[in-house]
């Protein structure tokens, strides 16, 4: 069995129709003014979820987002034929979390940005559990799209979460574990389901990736 304990848990679940402008006002005190005006909605939510998290240069971060920087992507596509360099940079996965860490000037050892969908939560957890770093940040989120949402290529609501996985039981809020064994795959929680479970302190369990997964609250 592989397990880690969850410390520092924060979830951002704003109203589904929150805009980046509204988030910029709501979260203004968490970011330097110069950085704030350039940050995307997802970057703001991820930054808020990571607020106060002490990461060091030997730590690792696993970042999960199916749709990533949707609005920057939409706007960059709209900037052609005079392509915008700023939107190009911002649209590239994993820009959401890079905005935050660059703003903090926070180097880290390893960054694992995942971009799947069906088993994204399971794969992000597996990536985090296989990390040898003593402190692993597990971060995820989405921002709401506009025209891409109309074509089911973007999230319908914004959200983000961040938690720190360590081997330390003391002070932990929850435990996540993977027990290898023969088991047929079951449906894996979506990224939004996972964020909601974290917010509600709701346990999770399913089978996949050749074993059984649990999220238990302590």
């Amino acid at each position: 069995m592989i397990e880690r304990f969850l410390h520092h848990l924060r979830v951002e679940l704003p109203d589904a129709d929150e805009t980046a402008t509204a988030a910029r006002t709501r979260l203004a005190d968490k970011f330097p003014r110069t950085a704030l005006r350039r940050m995307t909605h997802l970057g703001l939510l991820v930054g808020s979820a990571l607020d106060g998290v002490p990461l060091g240069p030997d730590d690792a971060l696993v970042y999960a987002s199916t749709f990533a920087e949707t609005r920057a992507l939409e706007d960059f596509l709209g900037s052609f034929p005079a392509a915008s360099p700023l939107l190009f940079q911002t649209s590239i996965h994993p820009g959401g979390v890079q905005q935050v860490l660059i703003g903090r000037q926070q180097p880290i050892a390893r960054l694992w940005p995942l971009a799947g969908r069906t088993r994204l939560v399971e794969q992000a957890l597996l990536t985090a559990l296989l990390e040898p770093a003593p402190c692993v940040a597990l971060v995820g989120g989405e921002e709401r799209g506009t025209w891409m949402l109309e074509h089911a290529m973007a999230a319908a609501r914004p959200f983000a979460f961040a938690t720190i996985l360590t081997h330390e039981l003391a002070g932990a809020a929850a435990r996540t574990a993977f027990r290898p064994g023969l088991a047929d795959d079951e449906s894996c929680p979506s990224l939004e389901d996972f964020a909601t479970a974290l917010a509600e302190r709701r346990p999770l369990g399913w089978c996949g990736a050749g074993g059984a997964w649990t999220l238990e609250w302590l």
Binding site: D58, F80, H93, L101, Q105, A109, L111, P113
Partner: protein, 373 residues
């Protein structure tokens, strides 16, 4: 201080790539002959624009089905048969572009059929169905170090006993989306790239590329013995001016290489500042080791470059010569940042390993140690 490298050796059962020159063997042969796949091409394809160096497998403009599908079918035909996408034989897809050219096409012609493969998850699902893979397809996207992540993660899955065999599959095809983006940053311009060369203007080229590797727990004659990663988080498109990020990654992989005699395949896109920092850091940590780079010919294959260039390196090592030869830095200038830059092919006879590196936006650095008998 530098990050600790993963030292989880994985055997390379099979590895191949597809570039405008053909498969890995054909690509290595072309590089040994100092040929360039890059040619000056309108940056927005049929929409025109400035001429920039691109190395393409056909016209850049997106098609229906996507223009990368026939190439990926051709490449995938060489993948050994297995129950790919099962829990114990997972697939790891690495890319920085996926099907984004289809999104660009949709914004031009509003044909919704492009959207079936326009986003990362959609293009991966499209491939999963095309190749009849199961659900266990991991998807990484970290700009130009992405393929390194896939290979490193595969080694972790193997050593944790969670996978018996892992298929790492990577593809990046140039579209007006990415060419226009790099052109807007002014590093994709009308100049051919000259990796590691001292000159007035830096320039990169972009190239189509796809590759795969099947990694196993069995050692085999070729092994990925170590991986290291480091993320500066200094600037979106720039590196720390003191070169600390390059040094951290180079020191880590040098420690893993121990006393091996290695040659180095660097990132070498053709940008000036990053090229200088990279060449200096690698020369310091691998004194005397020849430094080569192939993006002056193939262009930068972006998220796939780490795997495409690994396949080329393996093909060169398996080459028909005795001993085999490694291609030099195609397109390099007469004066380089360091005297370690190899401008001509060199013999592998005196080496028993290679360091392969890639770098990316955000000051991301990746390196791996390839060892062979």
């Amino acid at each position: 201080m530098h990050p600790t490298a993963d030292q989880l050796p994985a055997g390379i059962e099979v590895c191949d790539c597809l570039t405008p020159f053909g498969d890995a063997a054909a690509t290595a042969t072309a590089l040994l002959a100092n040929r360039r796949a890059l040619s000056l091409t309108p940056v927005l394809g049929r929409d025109g624009g400035d001429l920039v160096p691109l190395a393409l497998l056909g016209a850049m403009d997106e098609t229906l089905p996507p223009r990368w599908l026939p190439a990926l079918r051709q490449l995938a035909a060489a993948i050994p048969v297995d129950d790919w996408g099962s829990a114990h034989t997972p697939v790891i897809i690495t890319s920085s572009n996926f099907g984004v050219g289809s999104l660009y096409a949709f914004t031009r012609d509003h044909d919704a059929r492009h959207l079936v493969h326009g986003t990362p998850f959609a293009s991966v699902e499209f491939l999963r169905q095309e190749f009849d893979w199961g659900e266990h397809v991991h998807v990484f996207s970290h700009a130009c170090v992405t393929a390194h992540l896939g290979l490193a993660h595969a080694a972790r899955l193997l050593h944790a006993g969670l996978a018996a065999r892992v298929l790492v599959f990577s593809f990046d095809f140039v579209s007006p989306f990415v060419a226009g983006g790099f052109h807007s940053l002014k590093i994709l311009n009308g100049t051919m790239p000259a990796p590691y060369a001292i000159r007035e203007v830096g320039a990169i080229g972009l190239g189509d590329g796809a590759a795969f590797a099947v990694l196993t727990r069995d050692a085999g004659p070729f092994r990925l013995a170590a991986h290291t990663l480091h993320n500066e988080m200094f600037h979106f498109t720039g590196n720390r001016p003191d070169g600390a990020g390059f040094a951290a990654c180079a020191a880590s992989i040098a420690a893993a290489a121990g006393g091996r005699r290695v040659w180095v395949k660097g990132h070498g896109t053709g940008t000036l500042e990053a090229g200088r920092l990279e060449a200096v850091a690698l020369a310091r940590h691998f004194p005397g080791a020849p430094l080569t780079g192939w993006k002056g010919s193939l262009g930068h294959t972006l998220g796939s470059c780490g795997l495409v260039e690994l396949a080329v390196a393996l093909a060169a090592l398996r080459g028909s010569g005795s001993p085999g030869k490694i291609p030099g830095t195609v397109g390099g200038g007469t004066t380089s940042f360091t005297d370690t830059v190899a401008l001509a092919p060199f013999s592998v006879a005196e080496f028993d390993g290679a360091i392969l590196t890639s770098n990316a936006f955000g000051g991301a650095h990746a390196a791996m140690l390839l060892t062979y008998d």
